[in-house]
Subunit: 478 residues, 2 copies
Amino acid sequence: MGTSYSSCYHSTTLSTHSLLLSHPKASAFHPSRFPNPSFKFHFTNQIHQTHLRIMSQKPSQVLGGKVEVGETQEGVSKGPMIDFHGIDEGLVEKMVYDALVWSSLHGLLVGDKSVQRSGKVPGVGMVHAPFALLPMPFPECHWKQAYELAPIFNELVDRVSLDAKFLQDSLSRTKKVDAFTCRLLDIHSKMLEINKKEDIRLGLHRSDYMLDEETKLLLQIEMNTISASFPGLGCLVSDLHRGLLNHYGESLGLDSKRVPNNPAATKFVEALAKAWIEYNNPRAVILLVVQPEERNMYDQHWLSALLKEGHNVSTLRRTLAEIDAEGKLQPDGTLVVGGQEVAIVYFRVGYAPINYPSESEWRARLLMEQSSAIKCPSISYHLVGTKKIQQELAKPNVLERFLDDKEDIAKLRKCFAGLWSLDDSDIVKKAIESPGLFVMKPQREGGVKWFKLCSAVVVMTSVINESLLHFREQHLRQ
Amino acid sequence: MGTSYSSCYHSTTLSTHSLLLSHPKASAFHPSRFPNPSFKFHFTNQIHQTHLRIMSQKPSQVLGGKVEVGETQEGVSKGPMIDFHGIDEGLVEKMVYDALVWSSLHGLLVGDKSVQRSGKVPGVGMVHAPFALLPMPFPECHWKQAYELAPIFNELVDRVSLDAKFLQDSLSRTKKVDAFTCRLLDIHSKMLEINKKEDIRLGLHRSDYMLDEETKLLLQIEMNTISASFPGLGCLVSDLHRGLLNHYGESLGLDSKRVPNNPAATKFVEALAKAWIEYNNPRAVILLVVQPEERNMYDQHWLSALLKEGHNVSTLRRTLAEIDAEGKLQPDGTLVVGGQEVAIVYFRVGYAPINYPSESEWRARLLMEQSSAIKCPSISYHLVGTKKIQQELAKPNVLERFLDDKEDIAKLRKCFAGLWSLDDSDIVKKAIESPGLFVMKPQREGGVKWFKLCSAVVVMTSVINESLLHFREQHLRQ
């Protein structure tokens, strides 16, 4: 039918700073492994996690929740139970039809890019969200491992965010080559100057993993600390899979009961509601900072709907430019937008240079950061999510600076893939020789896609002696 | 935003045979009273009702259910509690936004006519269904009255359907002027010739009412015995209204608890599932007979989804032409379509001449009627739903032929509006003199709109001495 089915995955802009080791046999989904935009059976290894730290009221309590997307299968050694590509065509056709109907009736939707207003107005120009038709078997032990890692990573993000010097020092070189990170660091510095404290800190993170088939290791690709998408639609995909397997599981040899529960949306909403209660003004709203056009609006609307229905908390959708125009700081630091006091600033935008086309957007970001509203994320949490920090944390003895529990540290380290900066000429040489073993990852969030070394190697050799900035710009112009 | 908000109403083709008395002050929704396709606050008085009669197993049991669409307000004398058109514009804007989001997340959708494939493929080209933003206050006593009438009308339809002579005699004149009804009567005659019995009879009806403000009477407009639409989406509108009033009811002076429960979809599905069980073959399916292009497919998909999820009953969607191509009758009368035995034929098409563009569709209709599958409706039930039969039943002493309970008869008669054929020259004269007091209704179901006498009066005077056929054709050409 010409429609495309693929898992929702989080992709990033075409700029690079770090290298991430991965193997071509990794079973996790990579878009470029499916060049034909038609049928795909695959799976995304993503862990949504929530993290709320309240310093003033309960100094030592971490209200970490963790929620998961994915379907598990016991044991590492078992391969997929069925040959997905051998499924009877008539059966696939029926499943596709049922899945399309299910998506329509249950709000698994996005705006259709061919309809102009679909990113502006809800209820018009809707099309089913892209999804994998069936869950991909995934070892239960690794799934449990990812589940266990979530609160430890949350704790780590929080601890690192409090070490301003570590952040500034680690990103000092990045600052010189990346104007965007430089602006973020400037805001961070300003907050340090005014001695701004965030007593209530809220993180809604998503950690992405790949399963390395050769070493049988679960390796972290990245941790998203800003604007982690698909908590709303992701759990619907689990429901869809469960429903399909209820009807067709017997023919496929798949058991719907093995599809794990995925409460991403309710957990995100619980964390937001908990933070809202801590802010302690029943009339205050949650400010959802959004793009001027957002075709993924229904993923966000699910959270707003659950907040309203389950917790009677209202959300206010505004773009950065609108916040610049409407937003005001009261003398006590209270943020007021559209005449309403803001309890939480929840970013679903702001992670990429394209989100700040003018000074207006930067003014809005600074205004919100200066306020006493809870930021999700704060500028510090945002900076912790950069690849450069991920790389620093992977260095020997760095985790020990932030975490006390040796077991926790060992667990984190076990899932770290090798991470190298392009400063390291030995590793760059190795990458040029064996491009299939590496993936190039950008420094920051958001955008179009990963940059696969195997296709970049020619360009890379030609620019390897130039500066990093040059290298990045070279690619951006392509 | 340029989108249109209106209640889902059932409208009919532009052909005429009967006159129905109504008053211009009637509070029920009439599309032509809202010429501007923008904002509308109104309400549809429709009663969905289900009727399953099983003759062989339980001869005297009527498994009638009745479900309602609408919102009530106690007492007849109270006017609307708020001036809908005086609501603050900002509040309306918020409610519209929330309603559009709610519709998208909860499957209150139709195919967008501007997207070519939206009537063919689910999950593409979707737009929110048209809906009224708020419920219209409606007297509880009349709502209860309609609720009480449902099983009596069901009983009446069933009794009349069994009187073949009454049907043939009553429609004998119609047969001469209406080729479509003539074809239906031919099938009916053929069934009489082969002495075809329908031991299990299933009716999924919708009765439409208008509230006459002058006489304070609830008057029946028509009873739909074939392809009654919006059981799926209709109850979502009640949920939408309840949700909106939960959030905005206080500002509007409306209480969400006063929006009555509307279980139309589940009741329809329960009746279908009950009939399916009576058919007694766990492998048999329900054949959903559909249009080749159906933008109202989600209304139907809700029923299929509830049948599958709640009762593990599968539906098969086929057009009349496809049934002609694929359908087979086994020697014992079993209907097989696409290799699957059919327990129930559920028509969501077949009510209008346009649904039968060739002999192929008529062959399919005959094939299904000859089968031992349960028809919803049978040809007899279909014929009972014509306006001519409605008119006959309104004549003195006719109801008494079919019903025994005098109270039931009185209840039905109380809701009958005056009905006249165009044969009656006195009433035609009166209608020409006072067009605002009459509405012209077509003989059969489906199509575009009612024909309001006030705008038809000029045409009418010019053709009044011609035959009915001429009269109808004259209008069809306009």
